[in-house]
Symmetry: C2
């Protein structure tokens, strides 16, 4: 028997949080109080009923799925692009992109934004990265917005190559520089690199 109402409600919140699929009846068994008590608790804590909770979770996935379709191809949001010339994308750093320990964005997200912008700028449906050099100049933290600017600095059409430089900034301060050697993939040569 747990004691106070407050204790139970705290535990209840936690319990529902790490299993939103639990019913009032199951909870009443867990805390051995009546179902009505659980209901009252939910009211006070304004926790919605099972179905609403589930729906909430489901809607979230659904939106994520829909959202992730376009995102899948380019990391960050392209806000300006001139094919074969230059392009700009923005990327908002959220909790899921940082190390929990120090809130610093993990390198591969900066890389992903820059690299996918380099792919997008190529005036070619199929482009691959062959080489790249990266400099992580300053740590980026959750909540900051990274603006990546890509420029094509060299073209070697005979070799199916192009060189792209990407500079990423946060509040006008450069945080990352990357140069990418890109390979334009023609249909005949598909799958053959390097």
């Amino acid at each position: 028997m747990k004691r106070t109402k407050r204790e139970r409600q705290t535990a209840l919140k936690e319990s529902i949080n790490d299993n939103p699929f639990v019913t009032d009846e199951e909870l009443s068994a867990e805390f051995n109080v009546s179902v009505q008590t659980i209901r009252l608790d939910r009211m006070e804590l304004s926790i919605p009923e099972l179905r609403e909770r589930i729906k909430h979770v489901a809607v979230k996935t659904f939106e994520d799925e829909v959202k992730s379709l376009p995102i899948d191809e380019v990391i960050g949001e392209i806000i300006d692009i001139e094919l074969d010339e230059k392009a700009i994308s923005i990327f908002d750093v959220k909790q899921e992109h940082v190390f929990q320990r120090n809130q610093i964005a993990r390198g591969h997200h900066l890389f992903a934004q820059a690299n996918s912008l380099a792919v997008a700028i190529m005036n070619e449906e199929l482009a691959l990265t062959v080489k790249s050099e990266l400099q992580f100049l300053r740590p980026v933290k959750a909540g900051q917005r990274i603006v990546a600017k890509a420029t094509v600095i060299d073209r070697q059409p005979e070799k199916n190559r192009a060189f792209v430089k990407v500079v990423s900034t946060v509040d006008q301060v450069t945080v990352f520089i990357g140069t990418f050697e890109m390979y334009r993939m023609t249909e005949q040569s598909e799958g053959e690199v390097g």
Copy 2:
């Protein structure tokens, strides 16, 4: 009025597919048939009821969320590690990691595996990537397993630096090489890089 039963059922399947949250009543309005007809249709097509559909979607997210928590820190699975010396991780390339057009793994996943292994090998709770040079030697396709081997090739403790080389292979063939200059972050210097 749509005509045949078959046509309606095809449309019904599609309708539910791109909005699993629709009720029988709404569907009956959409196809102007009775609710019972919709129910019969669902039976024949063995489409579960609204709540079951929603629950299904919700459970999926839930599992994804739980799964993504450990993955969050290291991309790929570390199978061997000697701190400050060497480490090995494997990463299975799935559909979500490749360009749909050509089934080739996107560069940032190879980078992410290598980079997070470089972070992990550092015998330090807090490590950041300062610079890196990457070579994408061969395209990797969905279904392949990438084995990344990281080695610390140089240490500069006085400068809080270490150099890590990562070689990634698929079936013993090298597909990616990356060198990473890593910064060991001490508590005093936290947040200050470069």
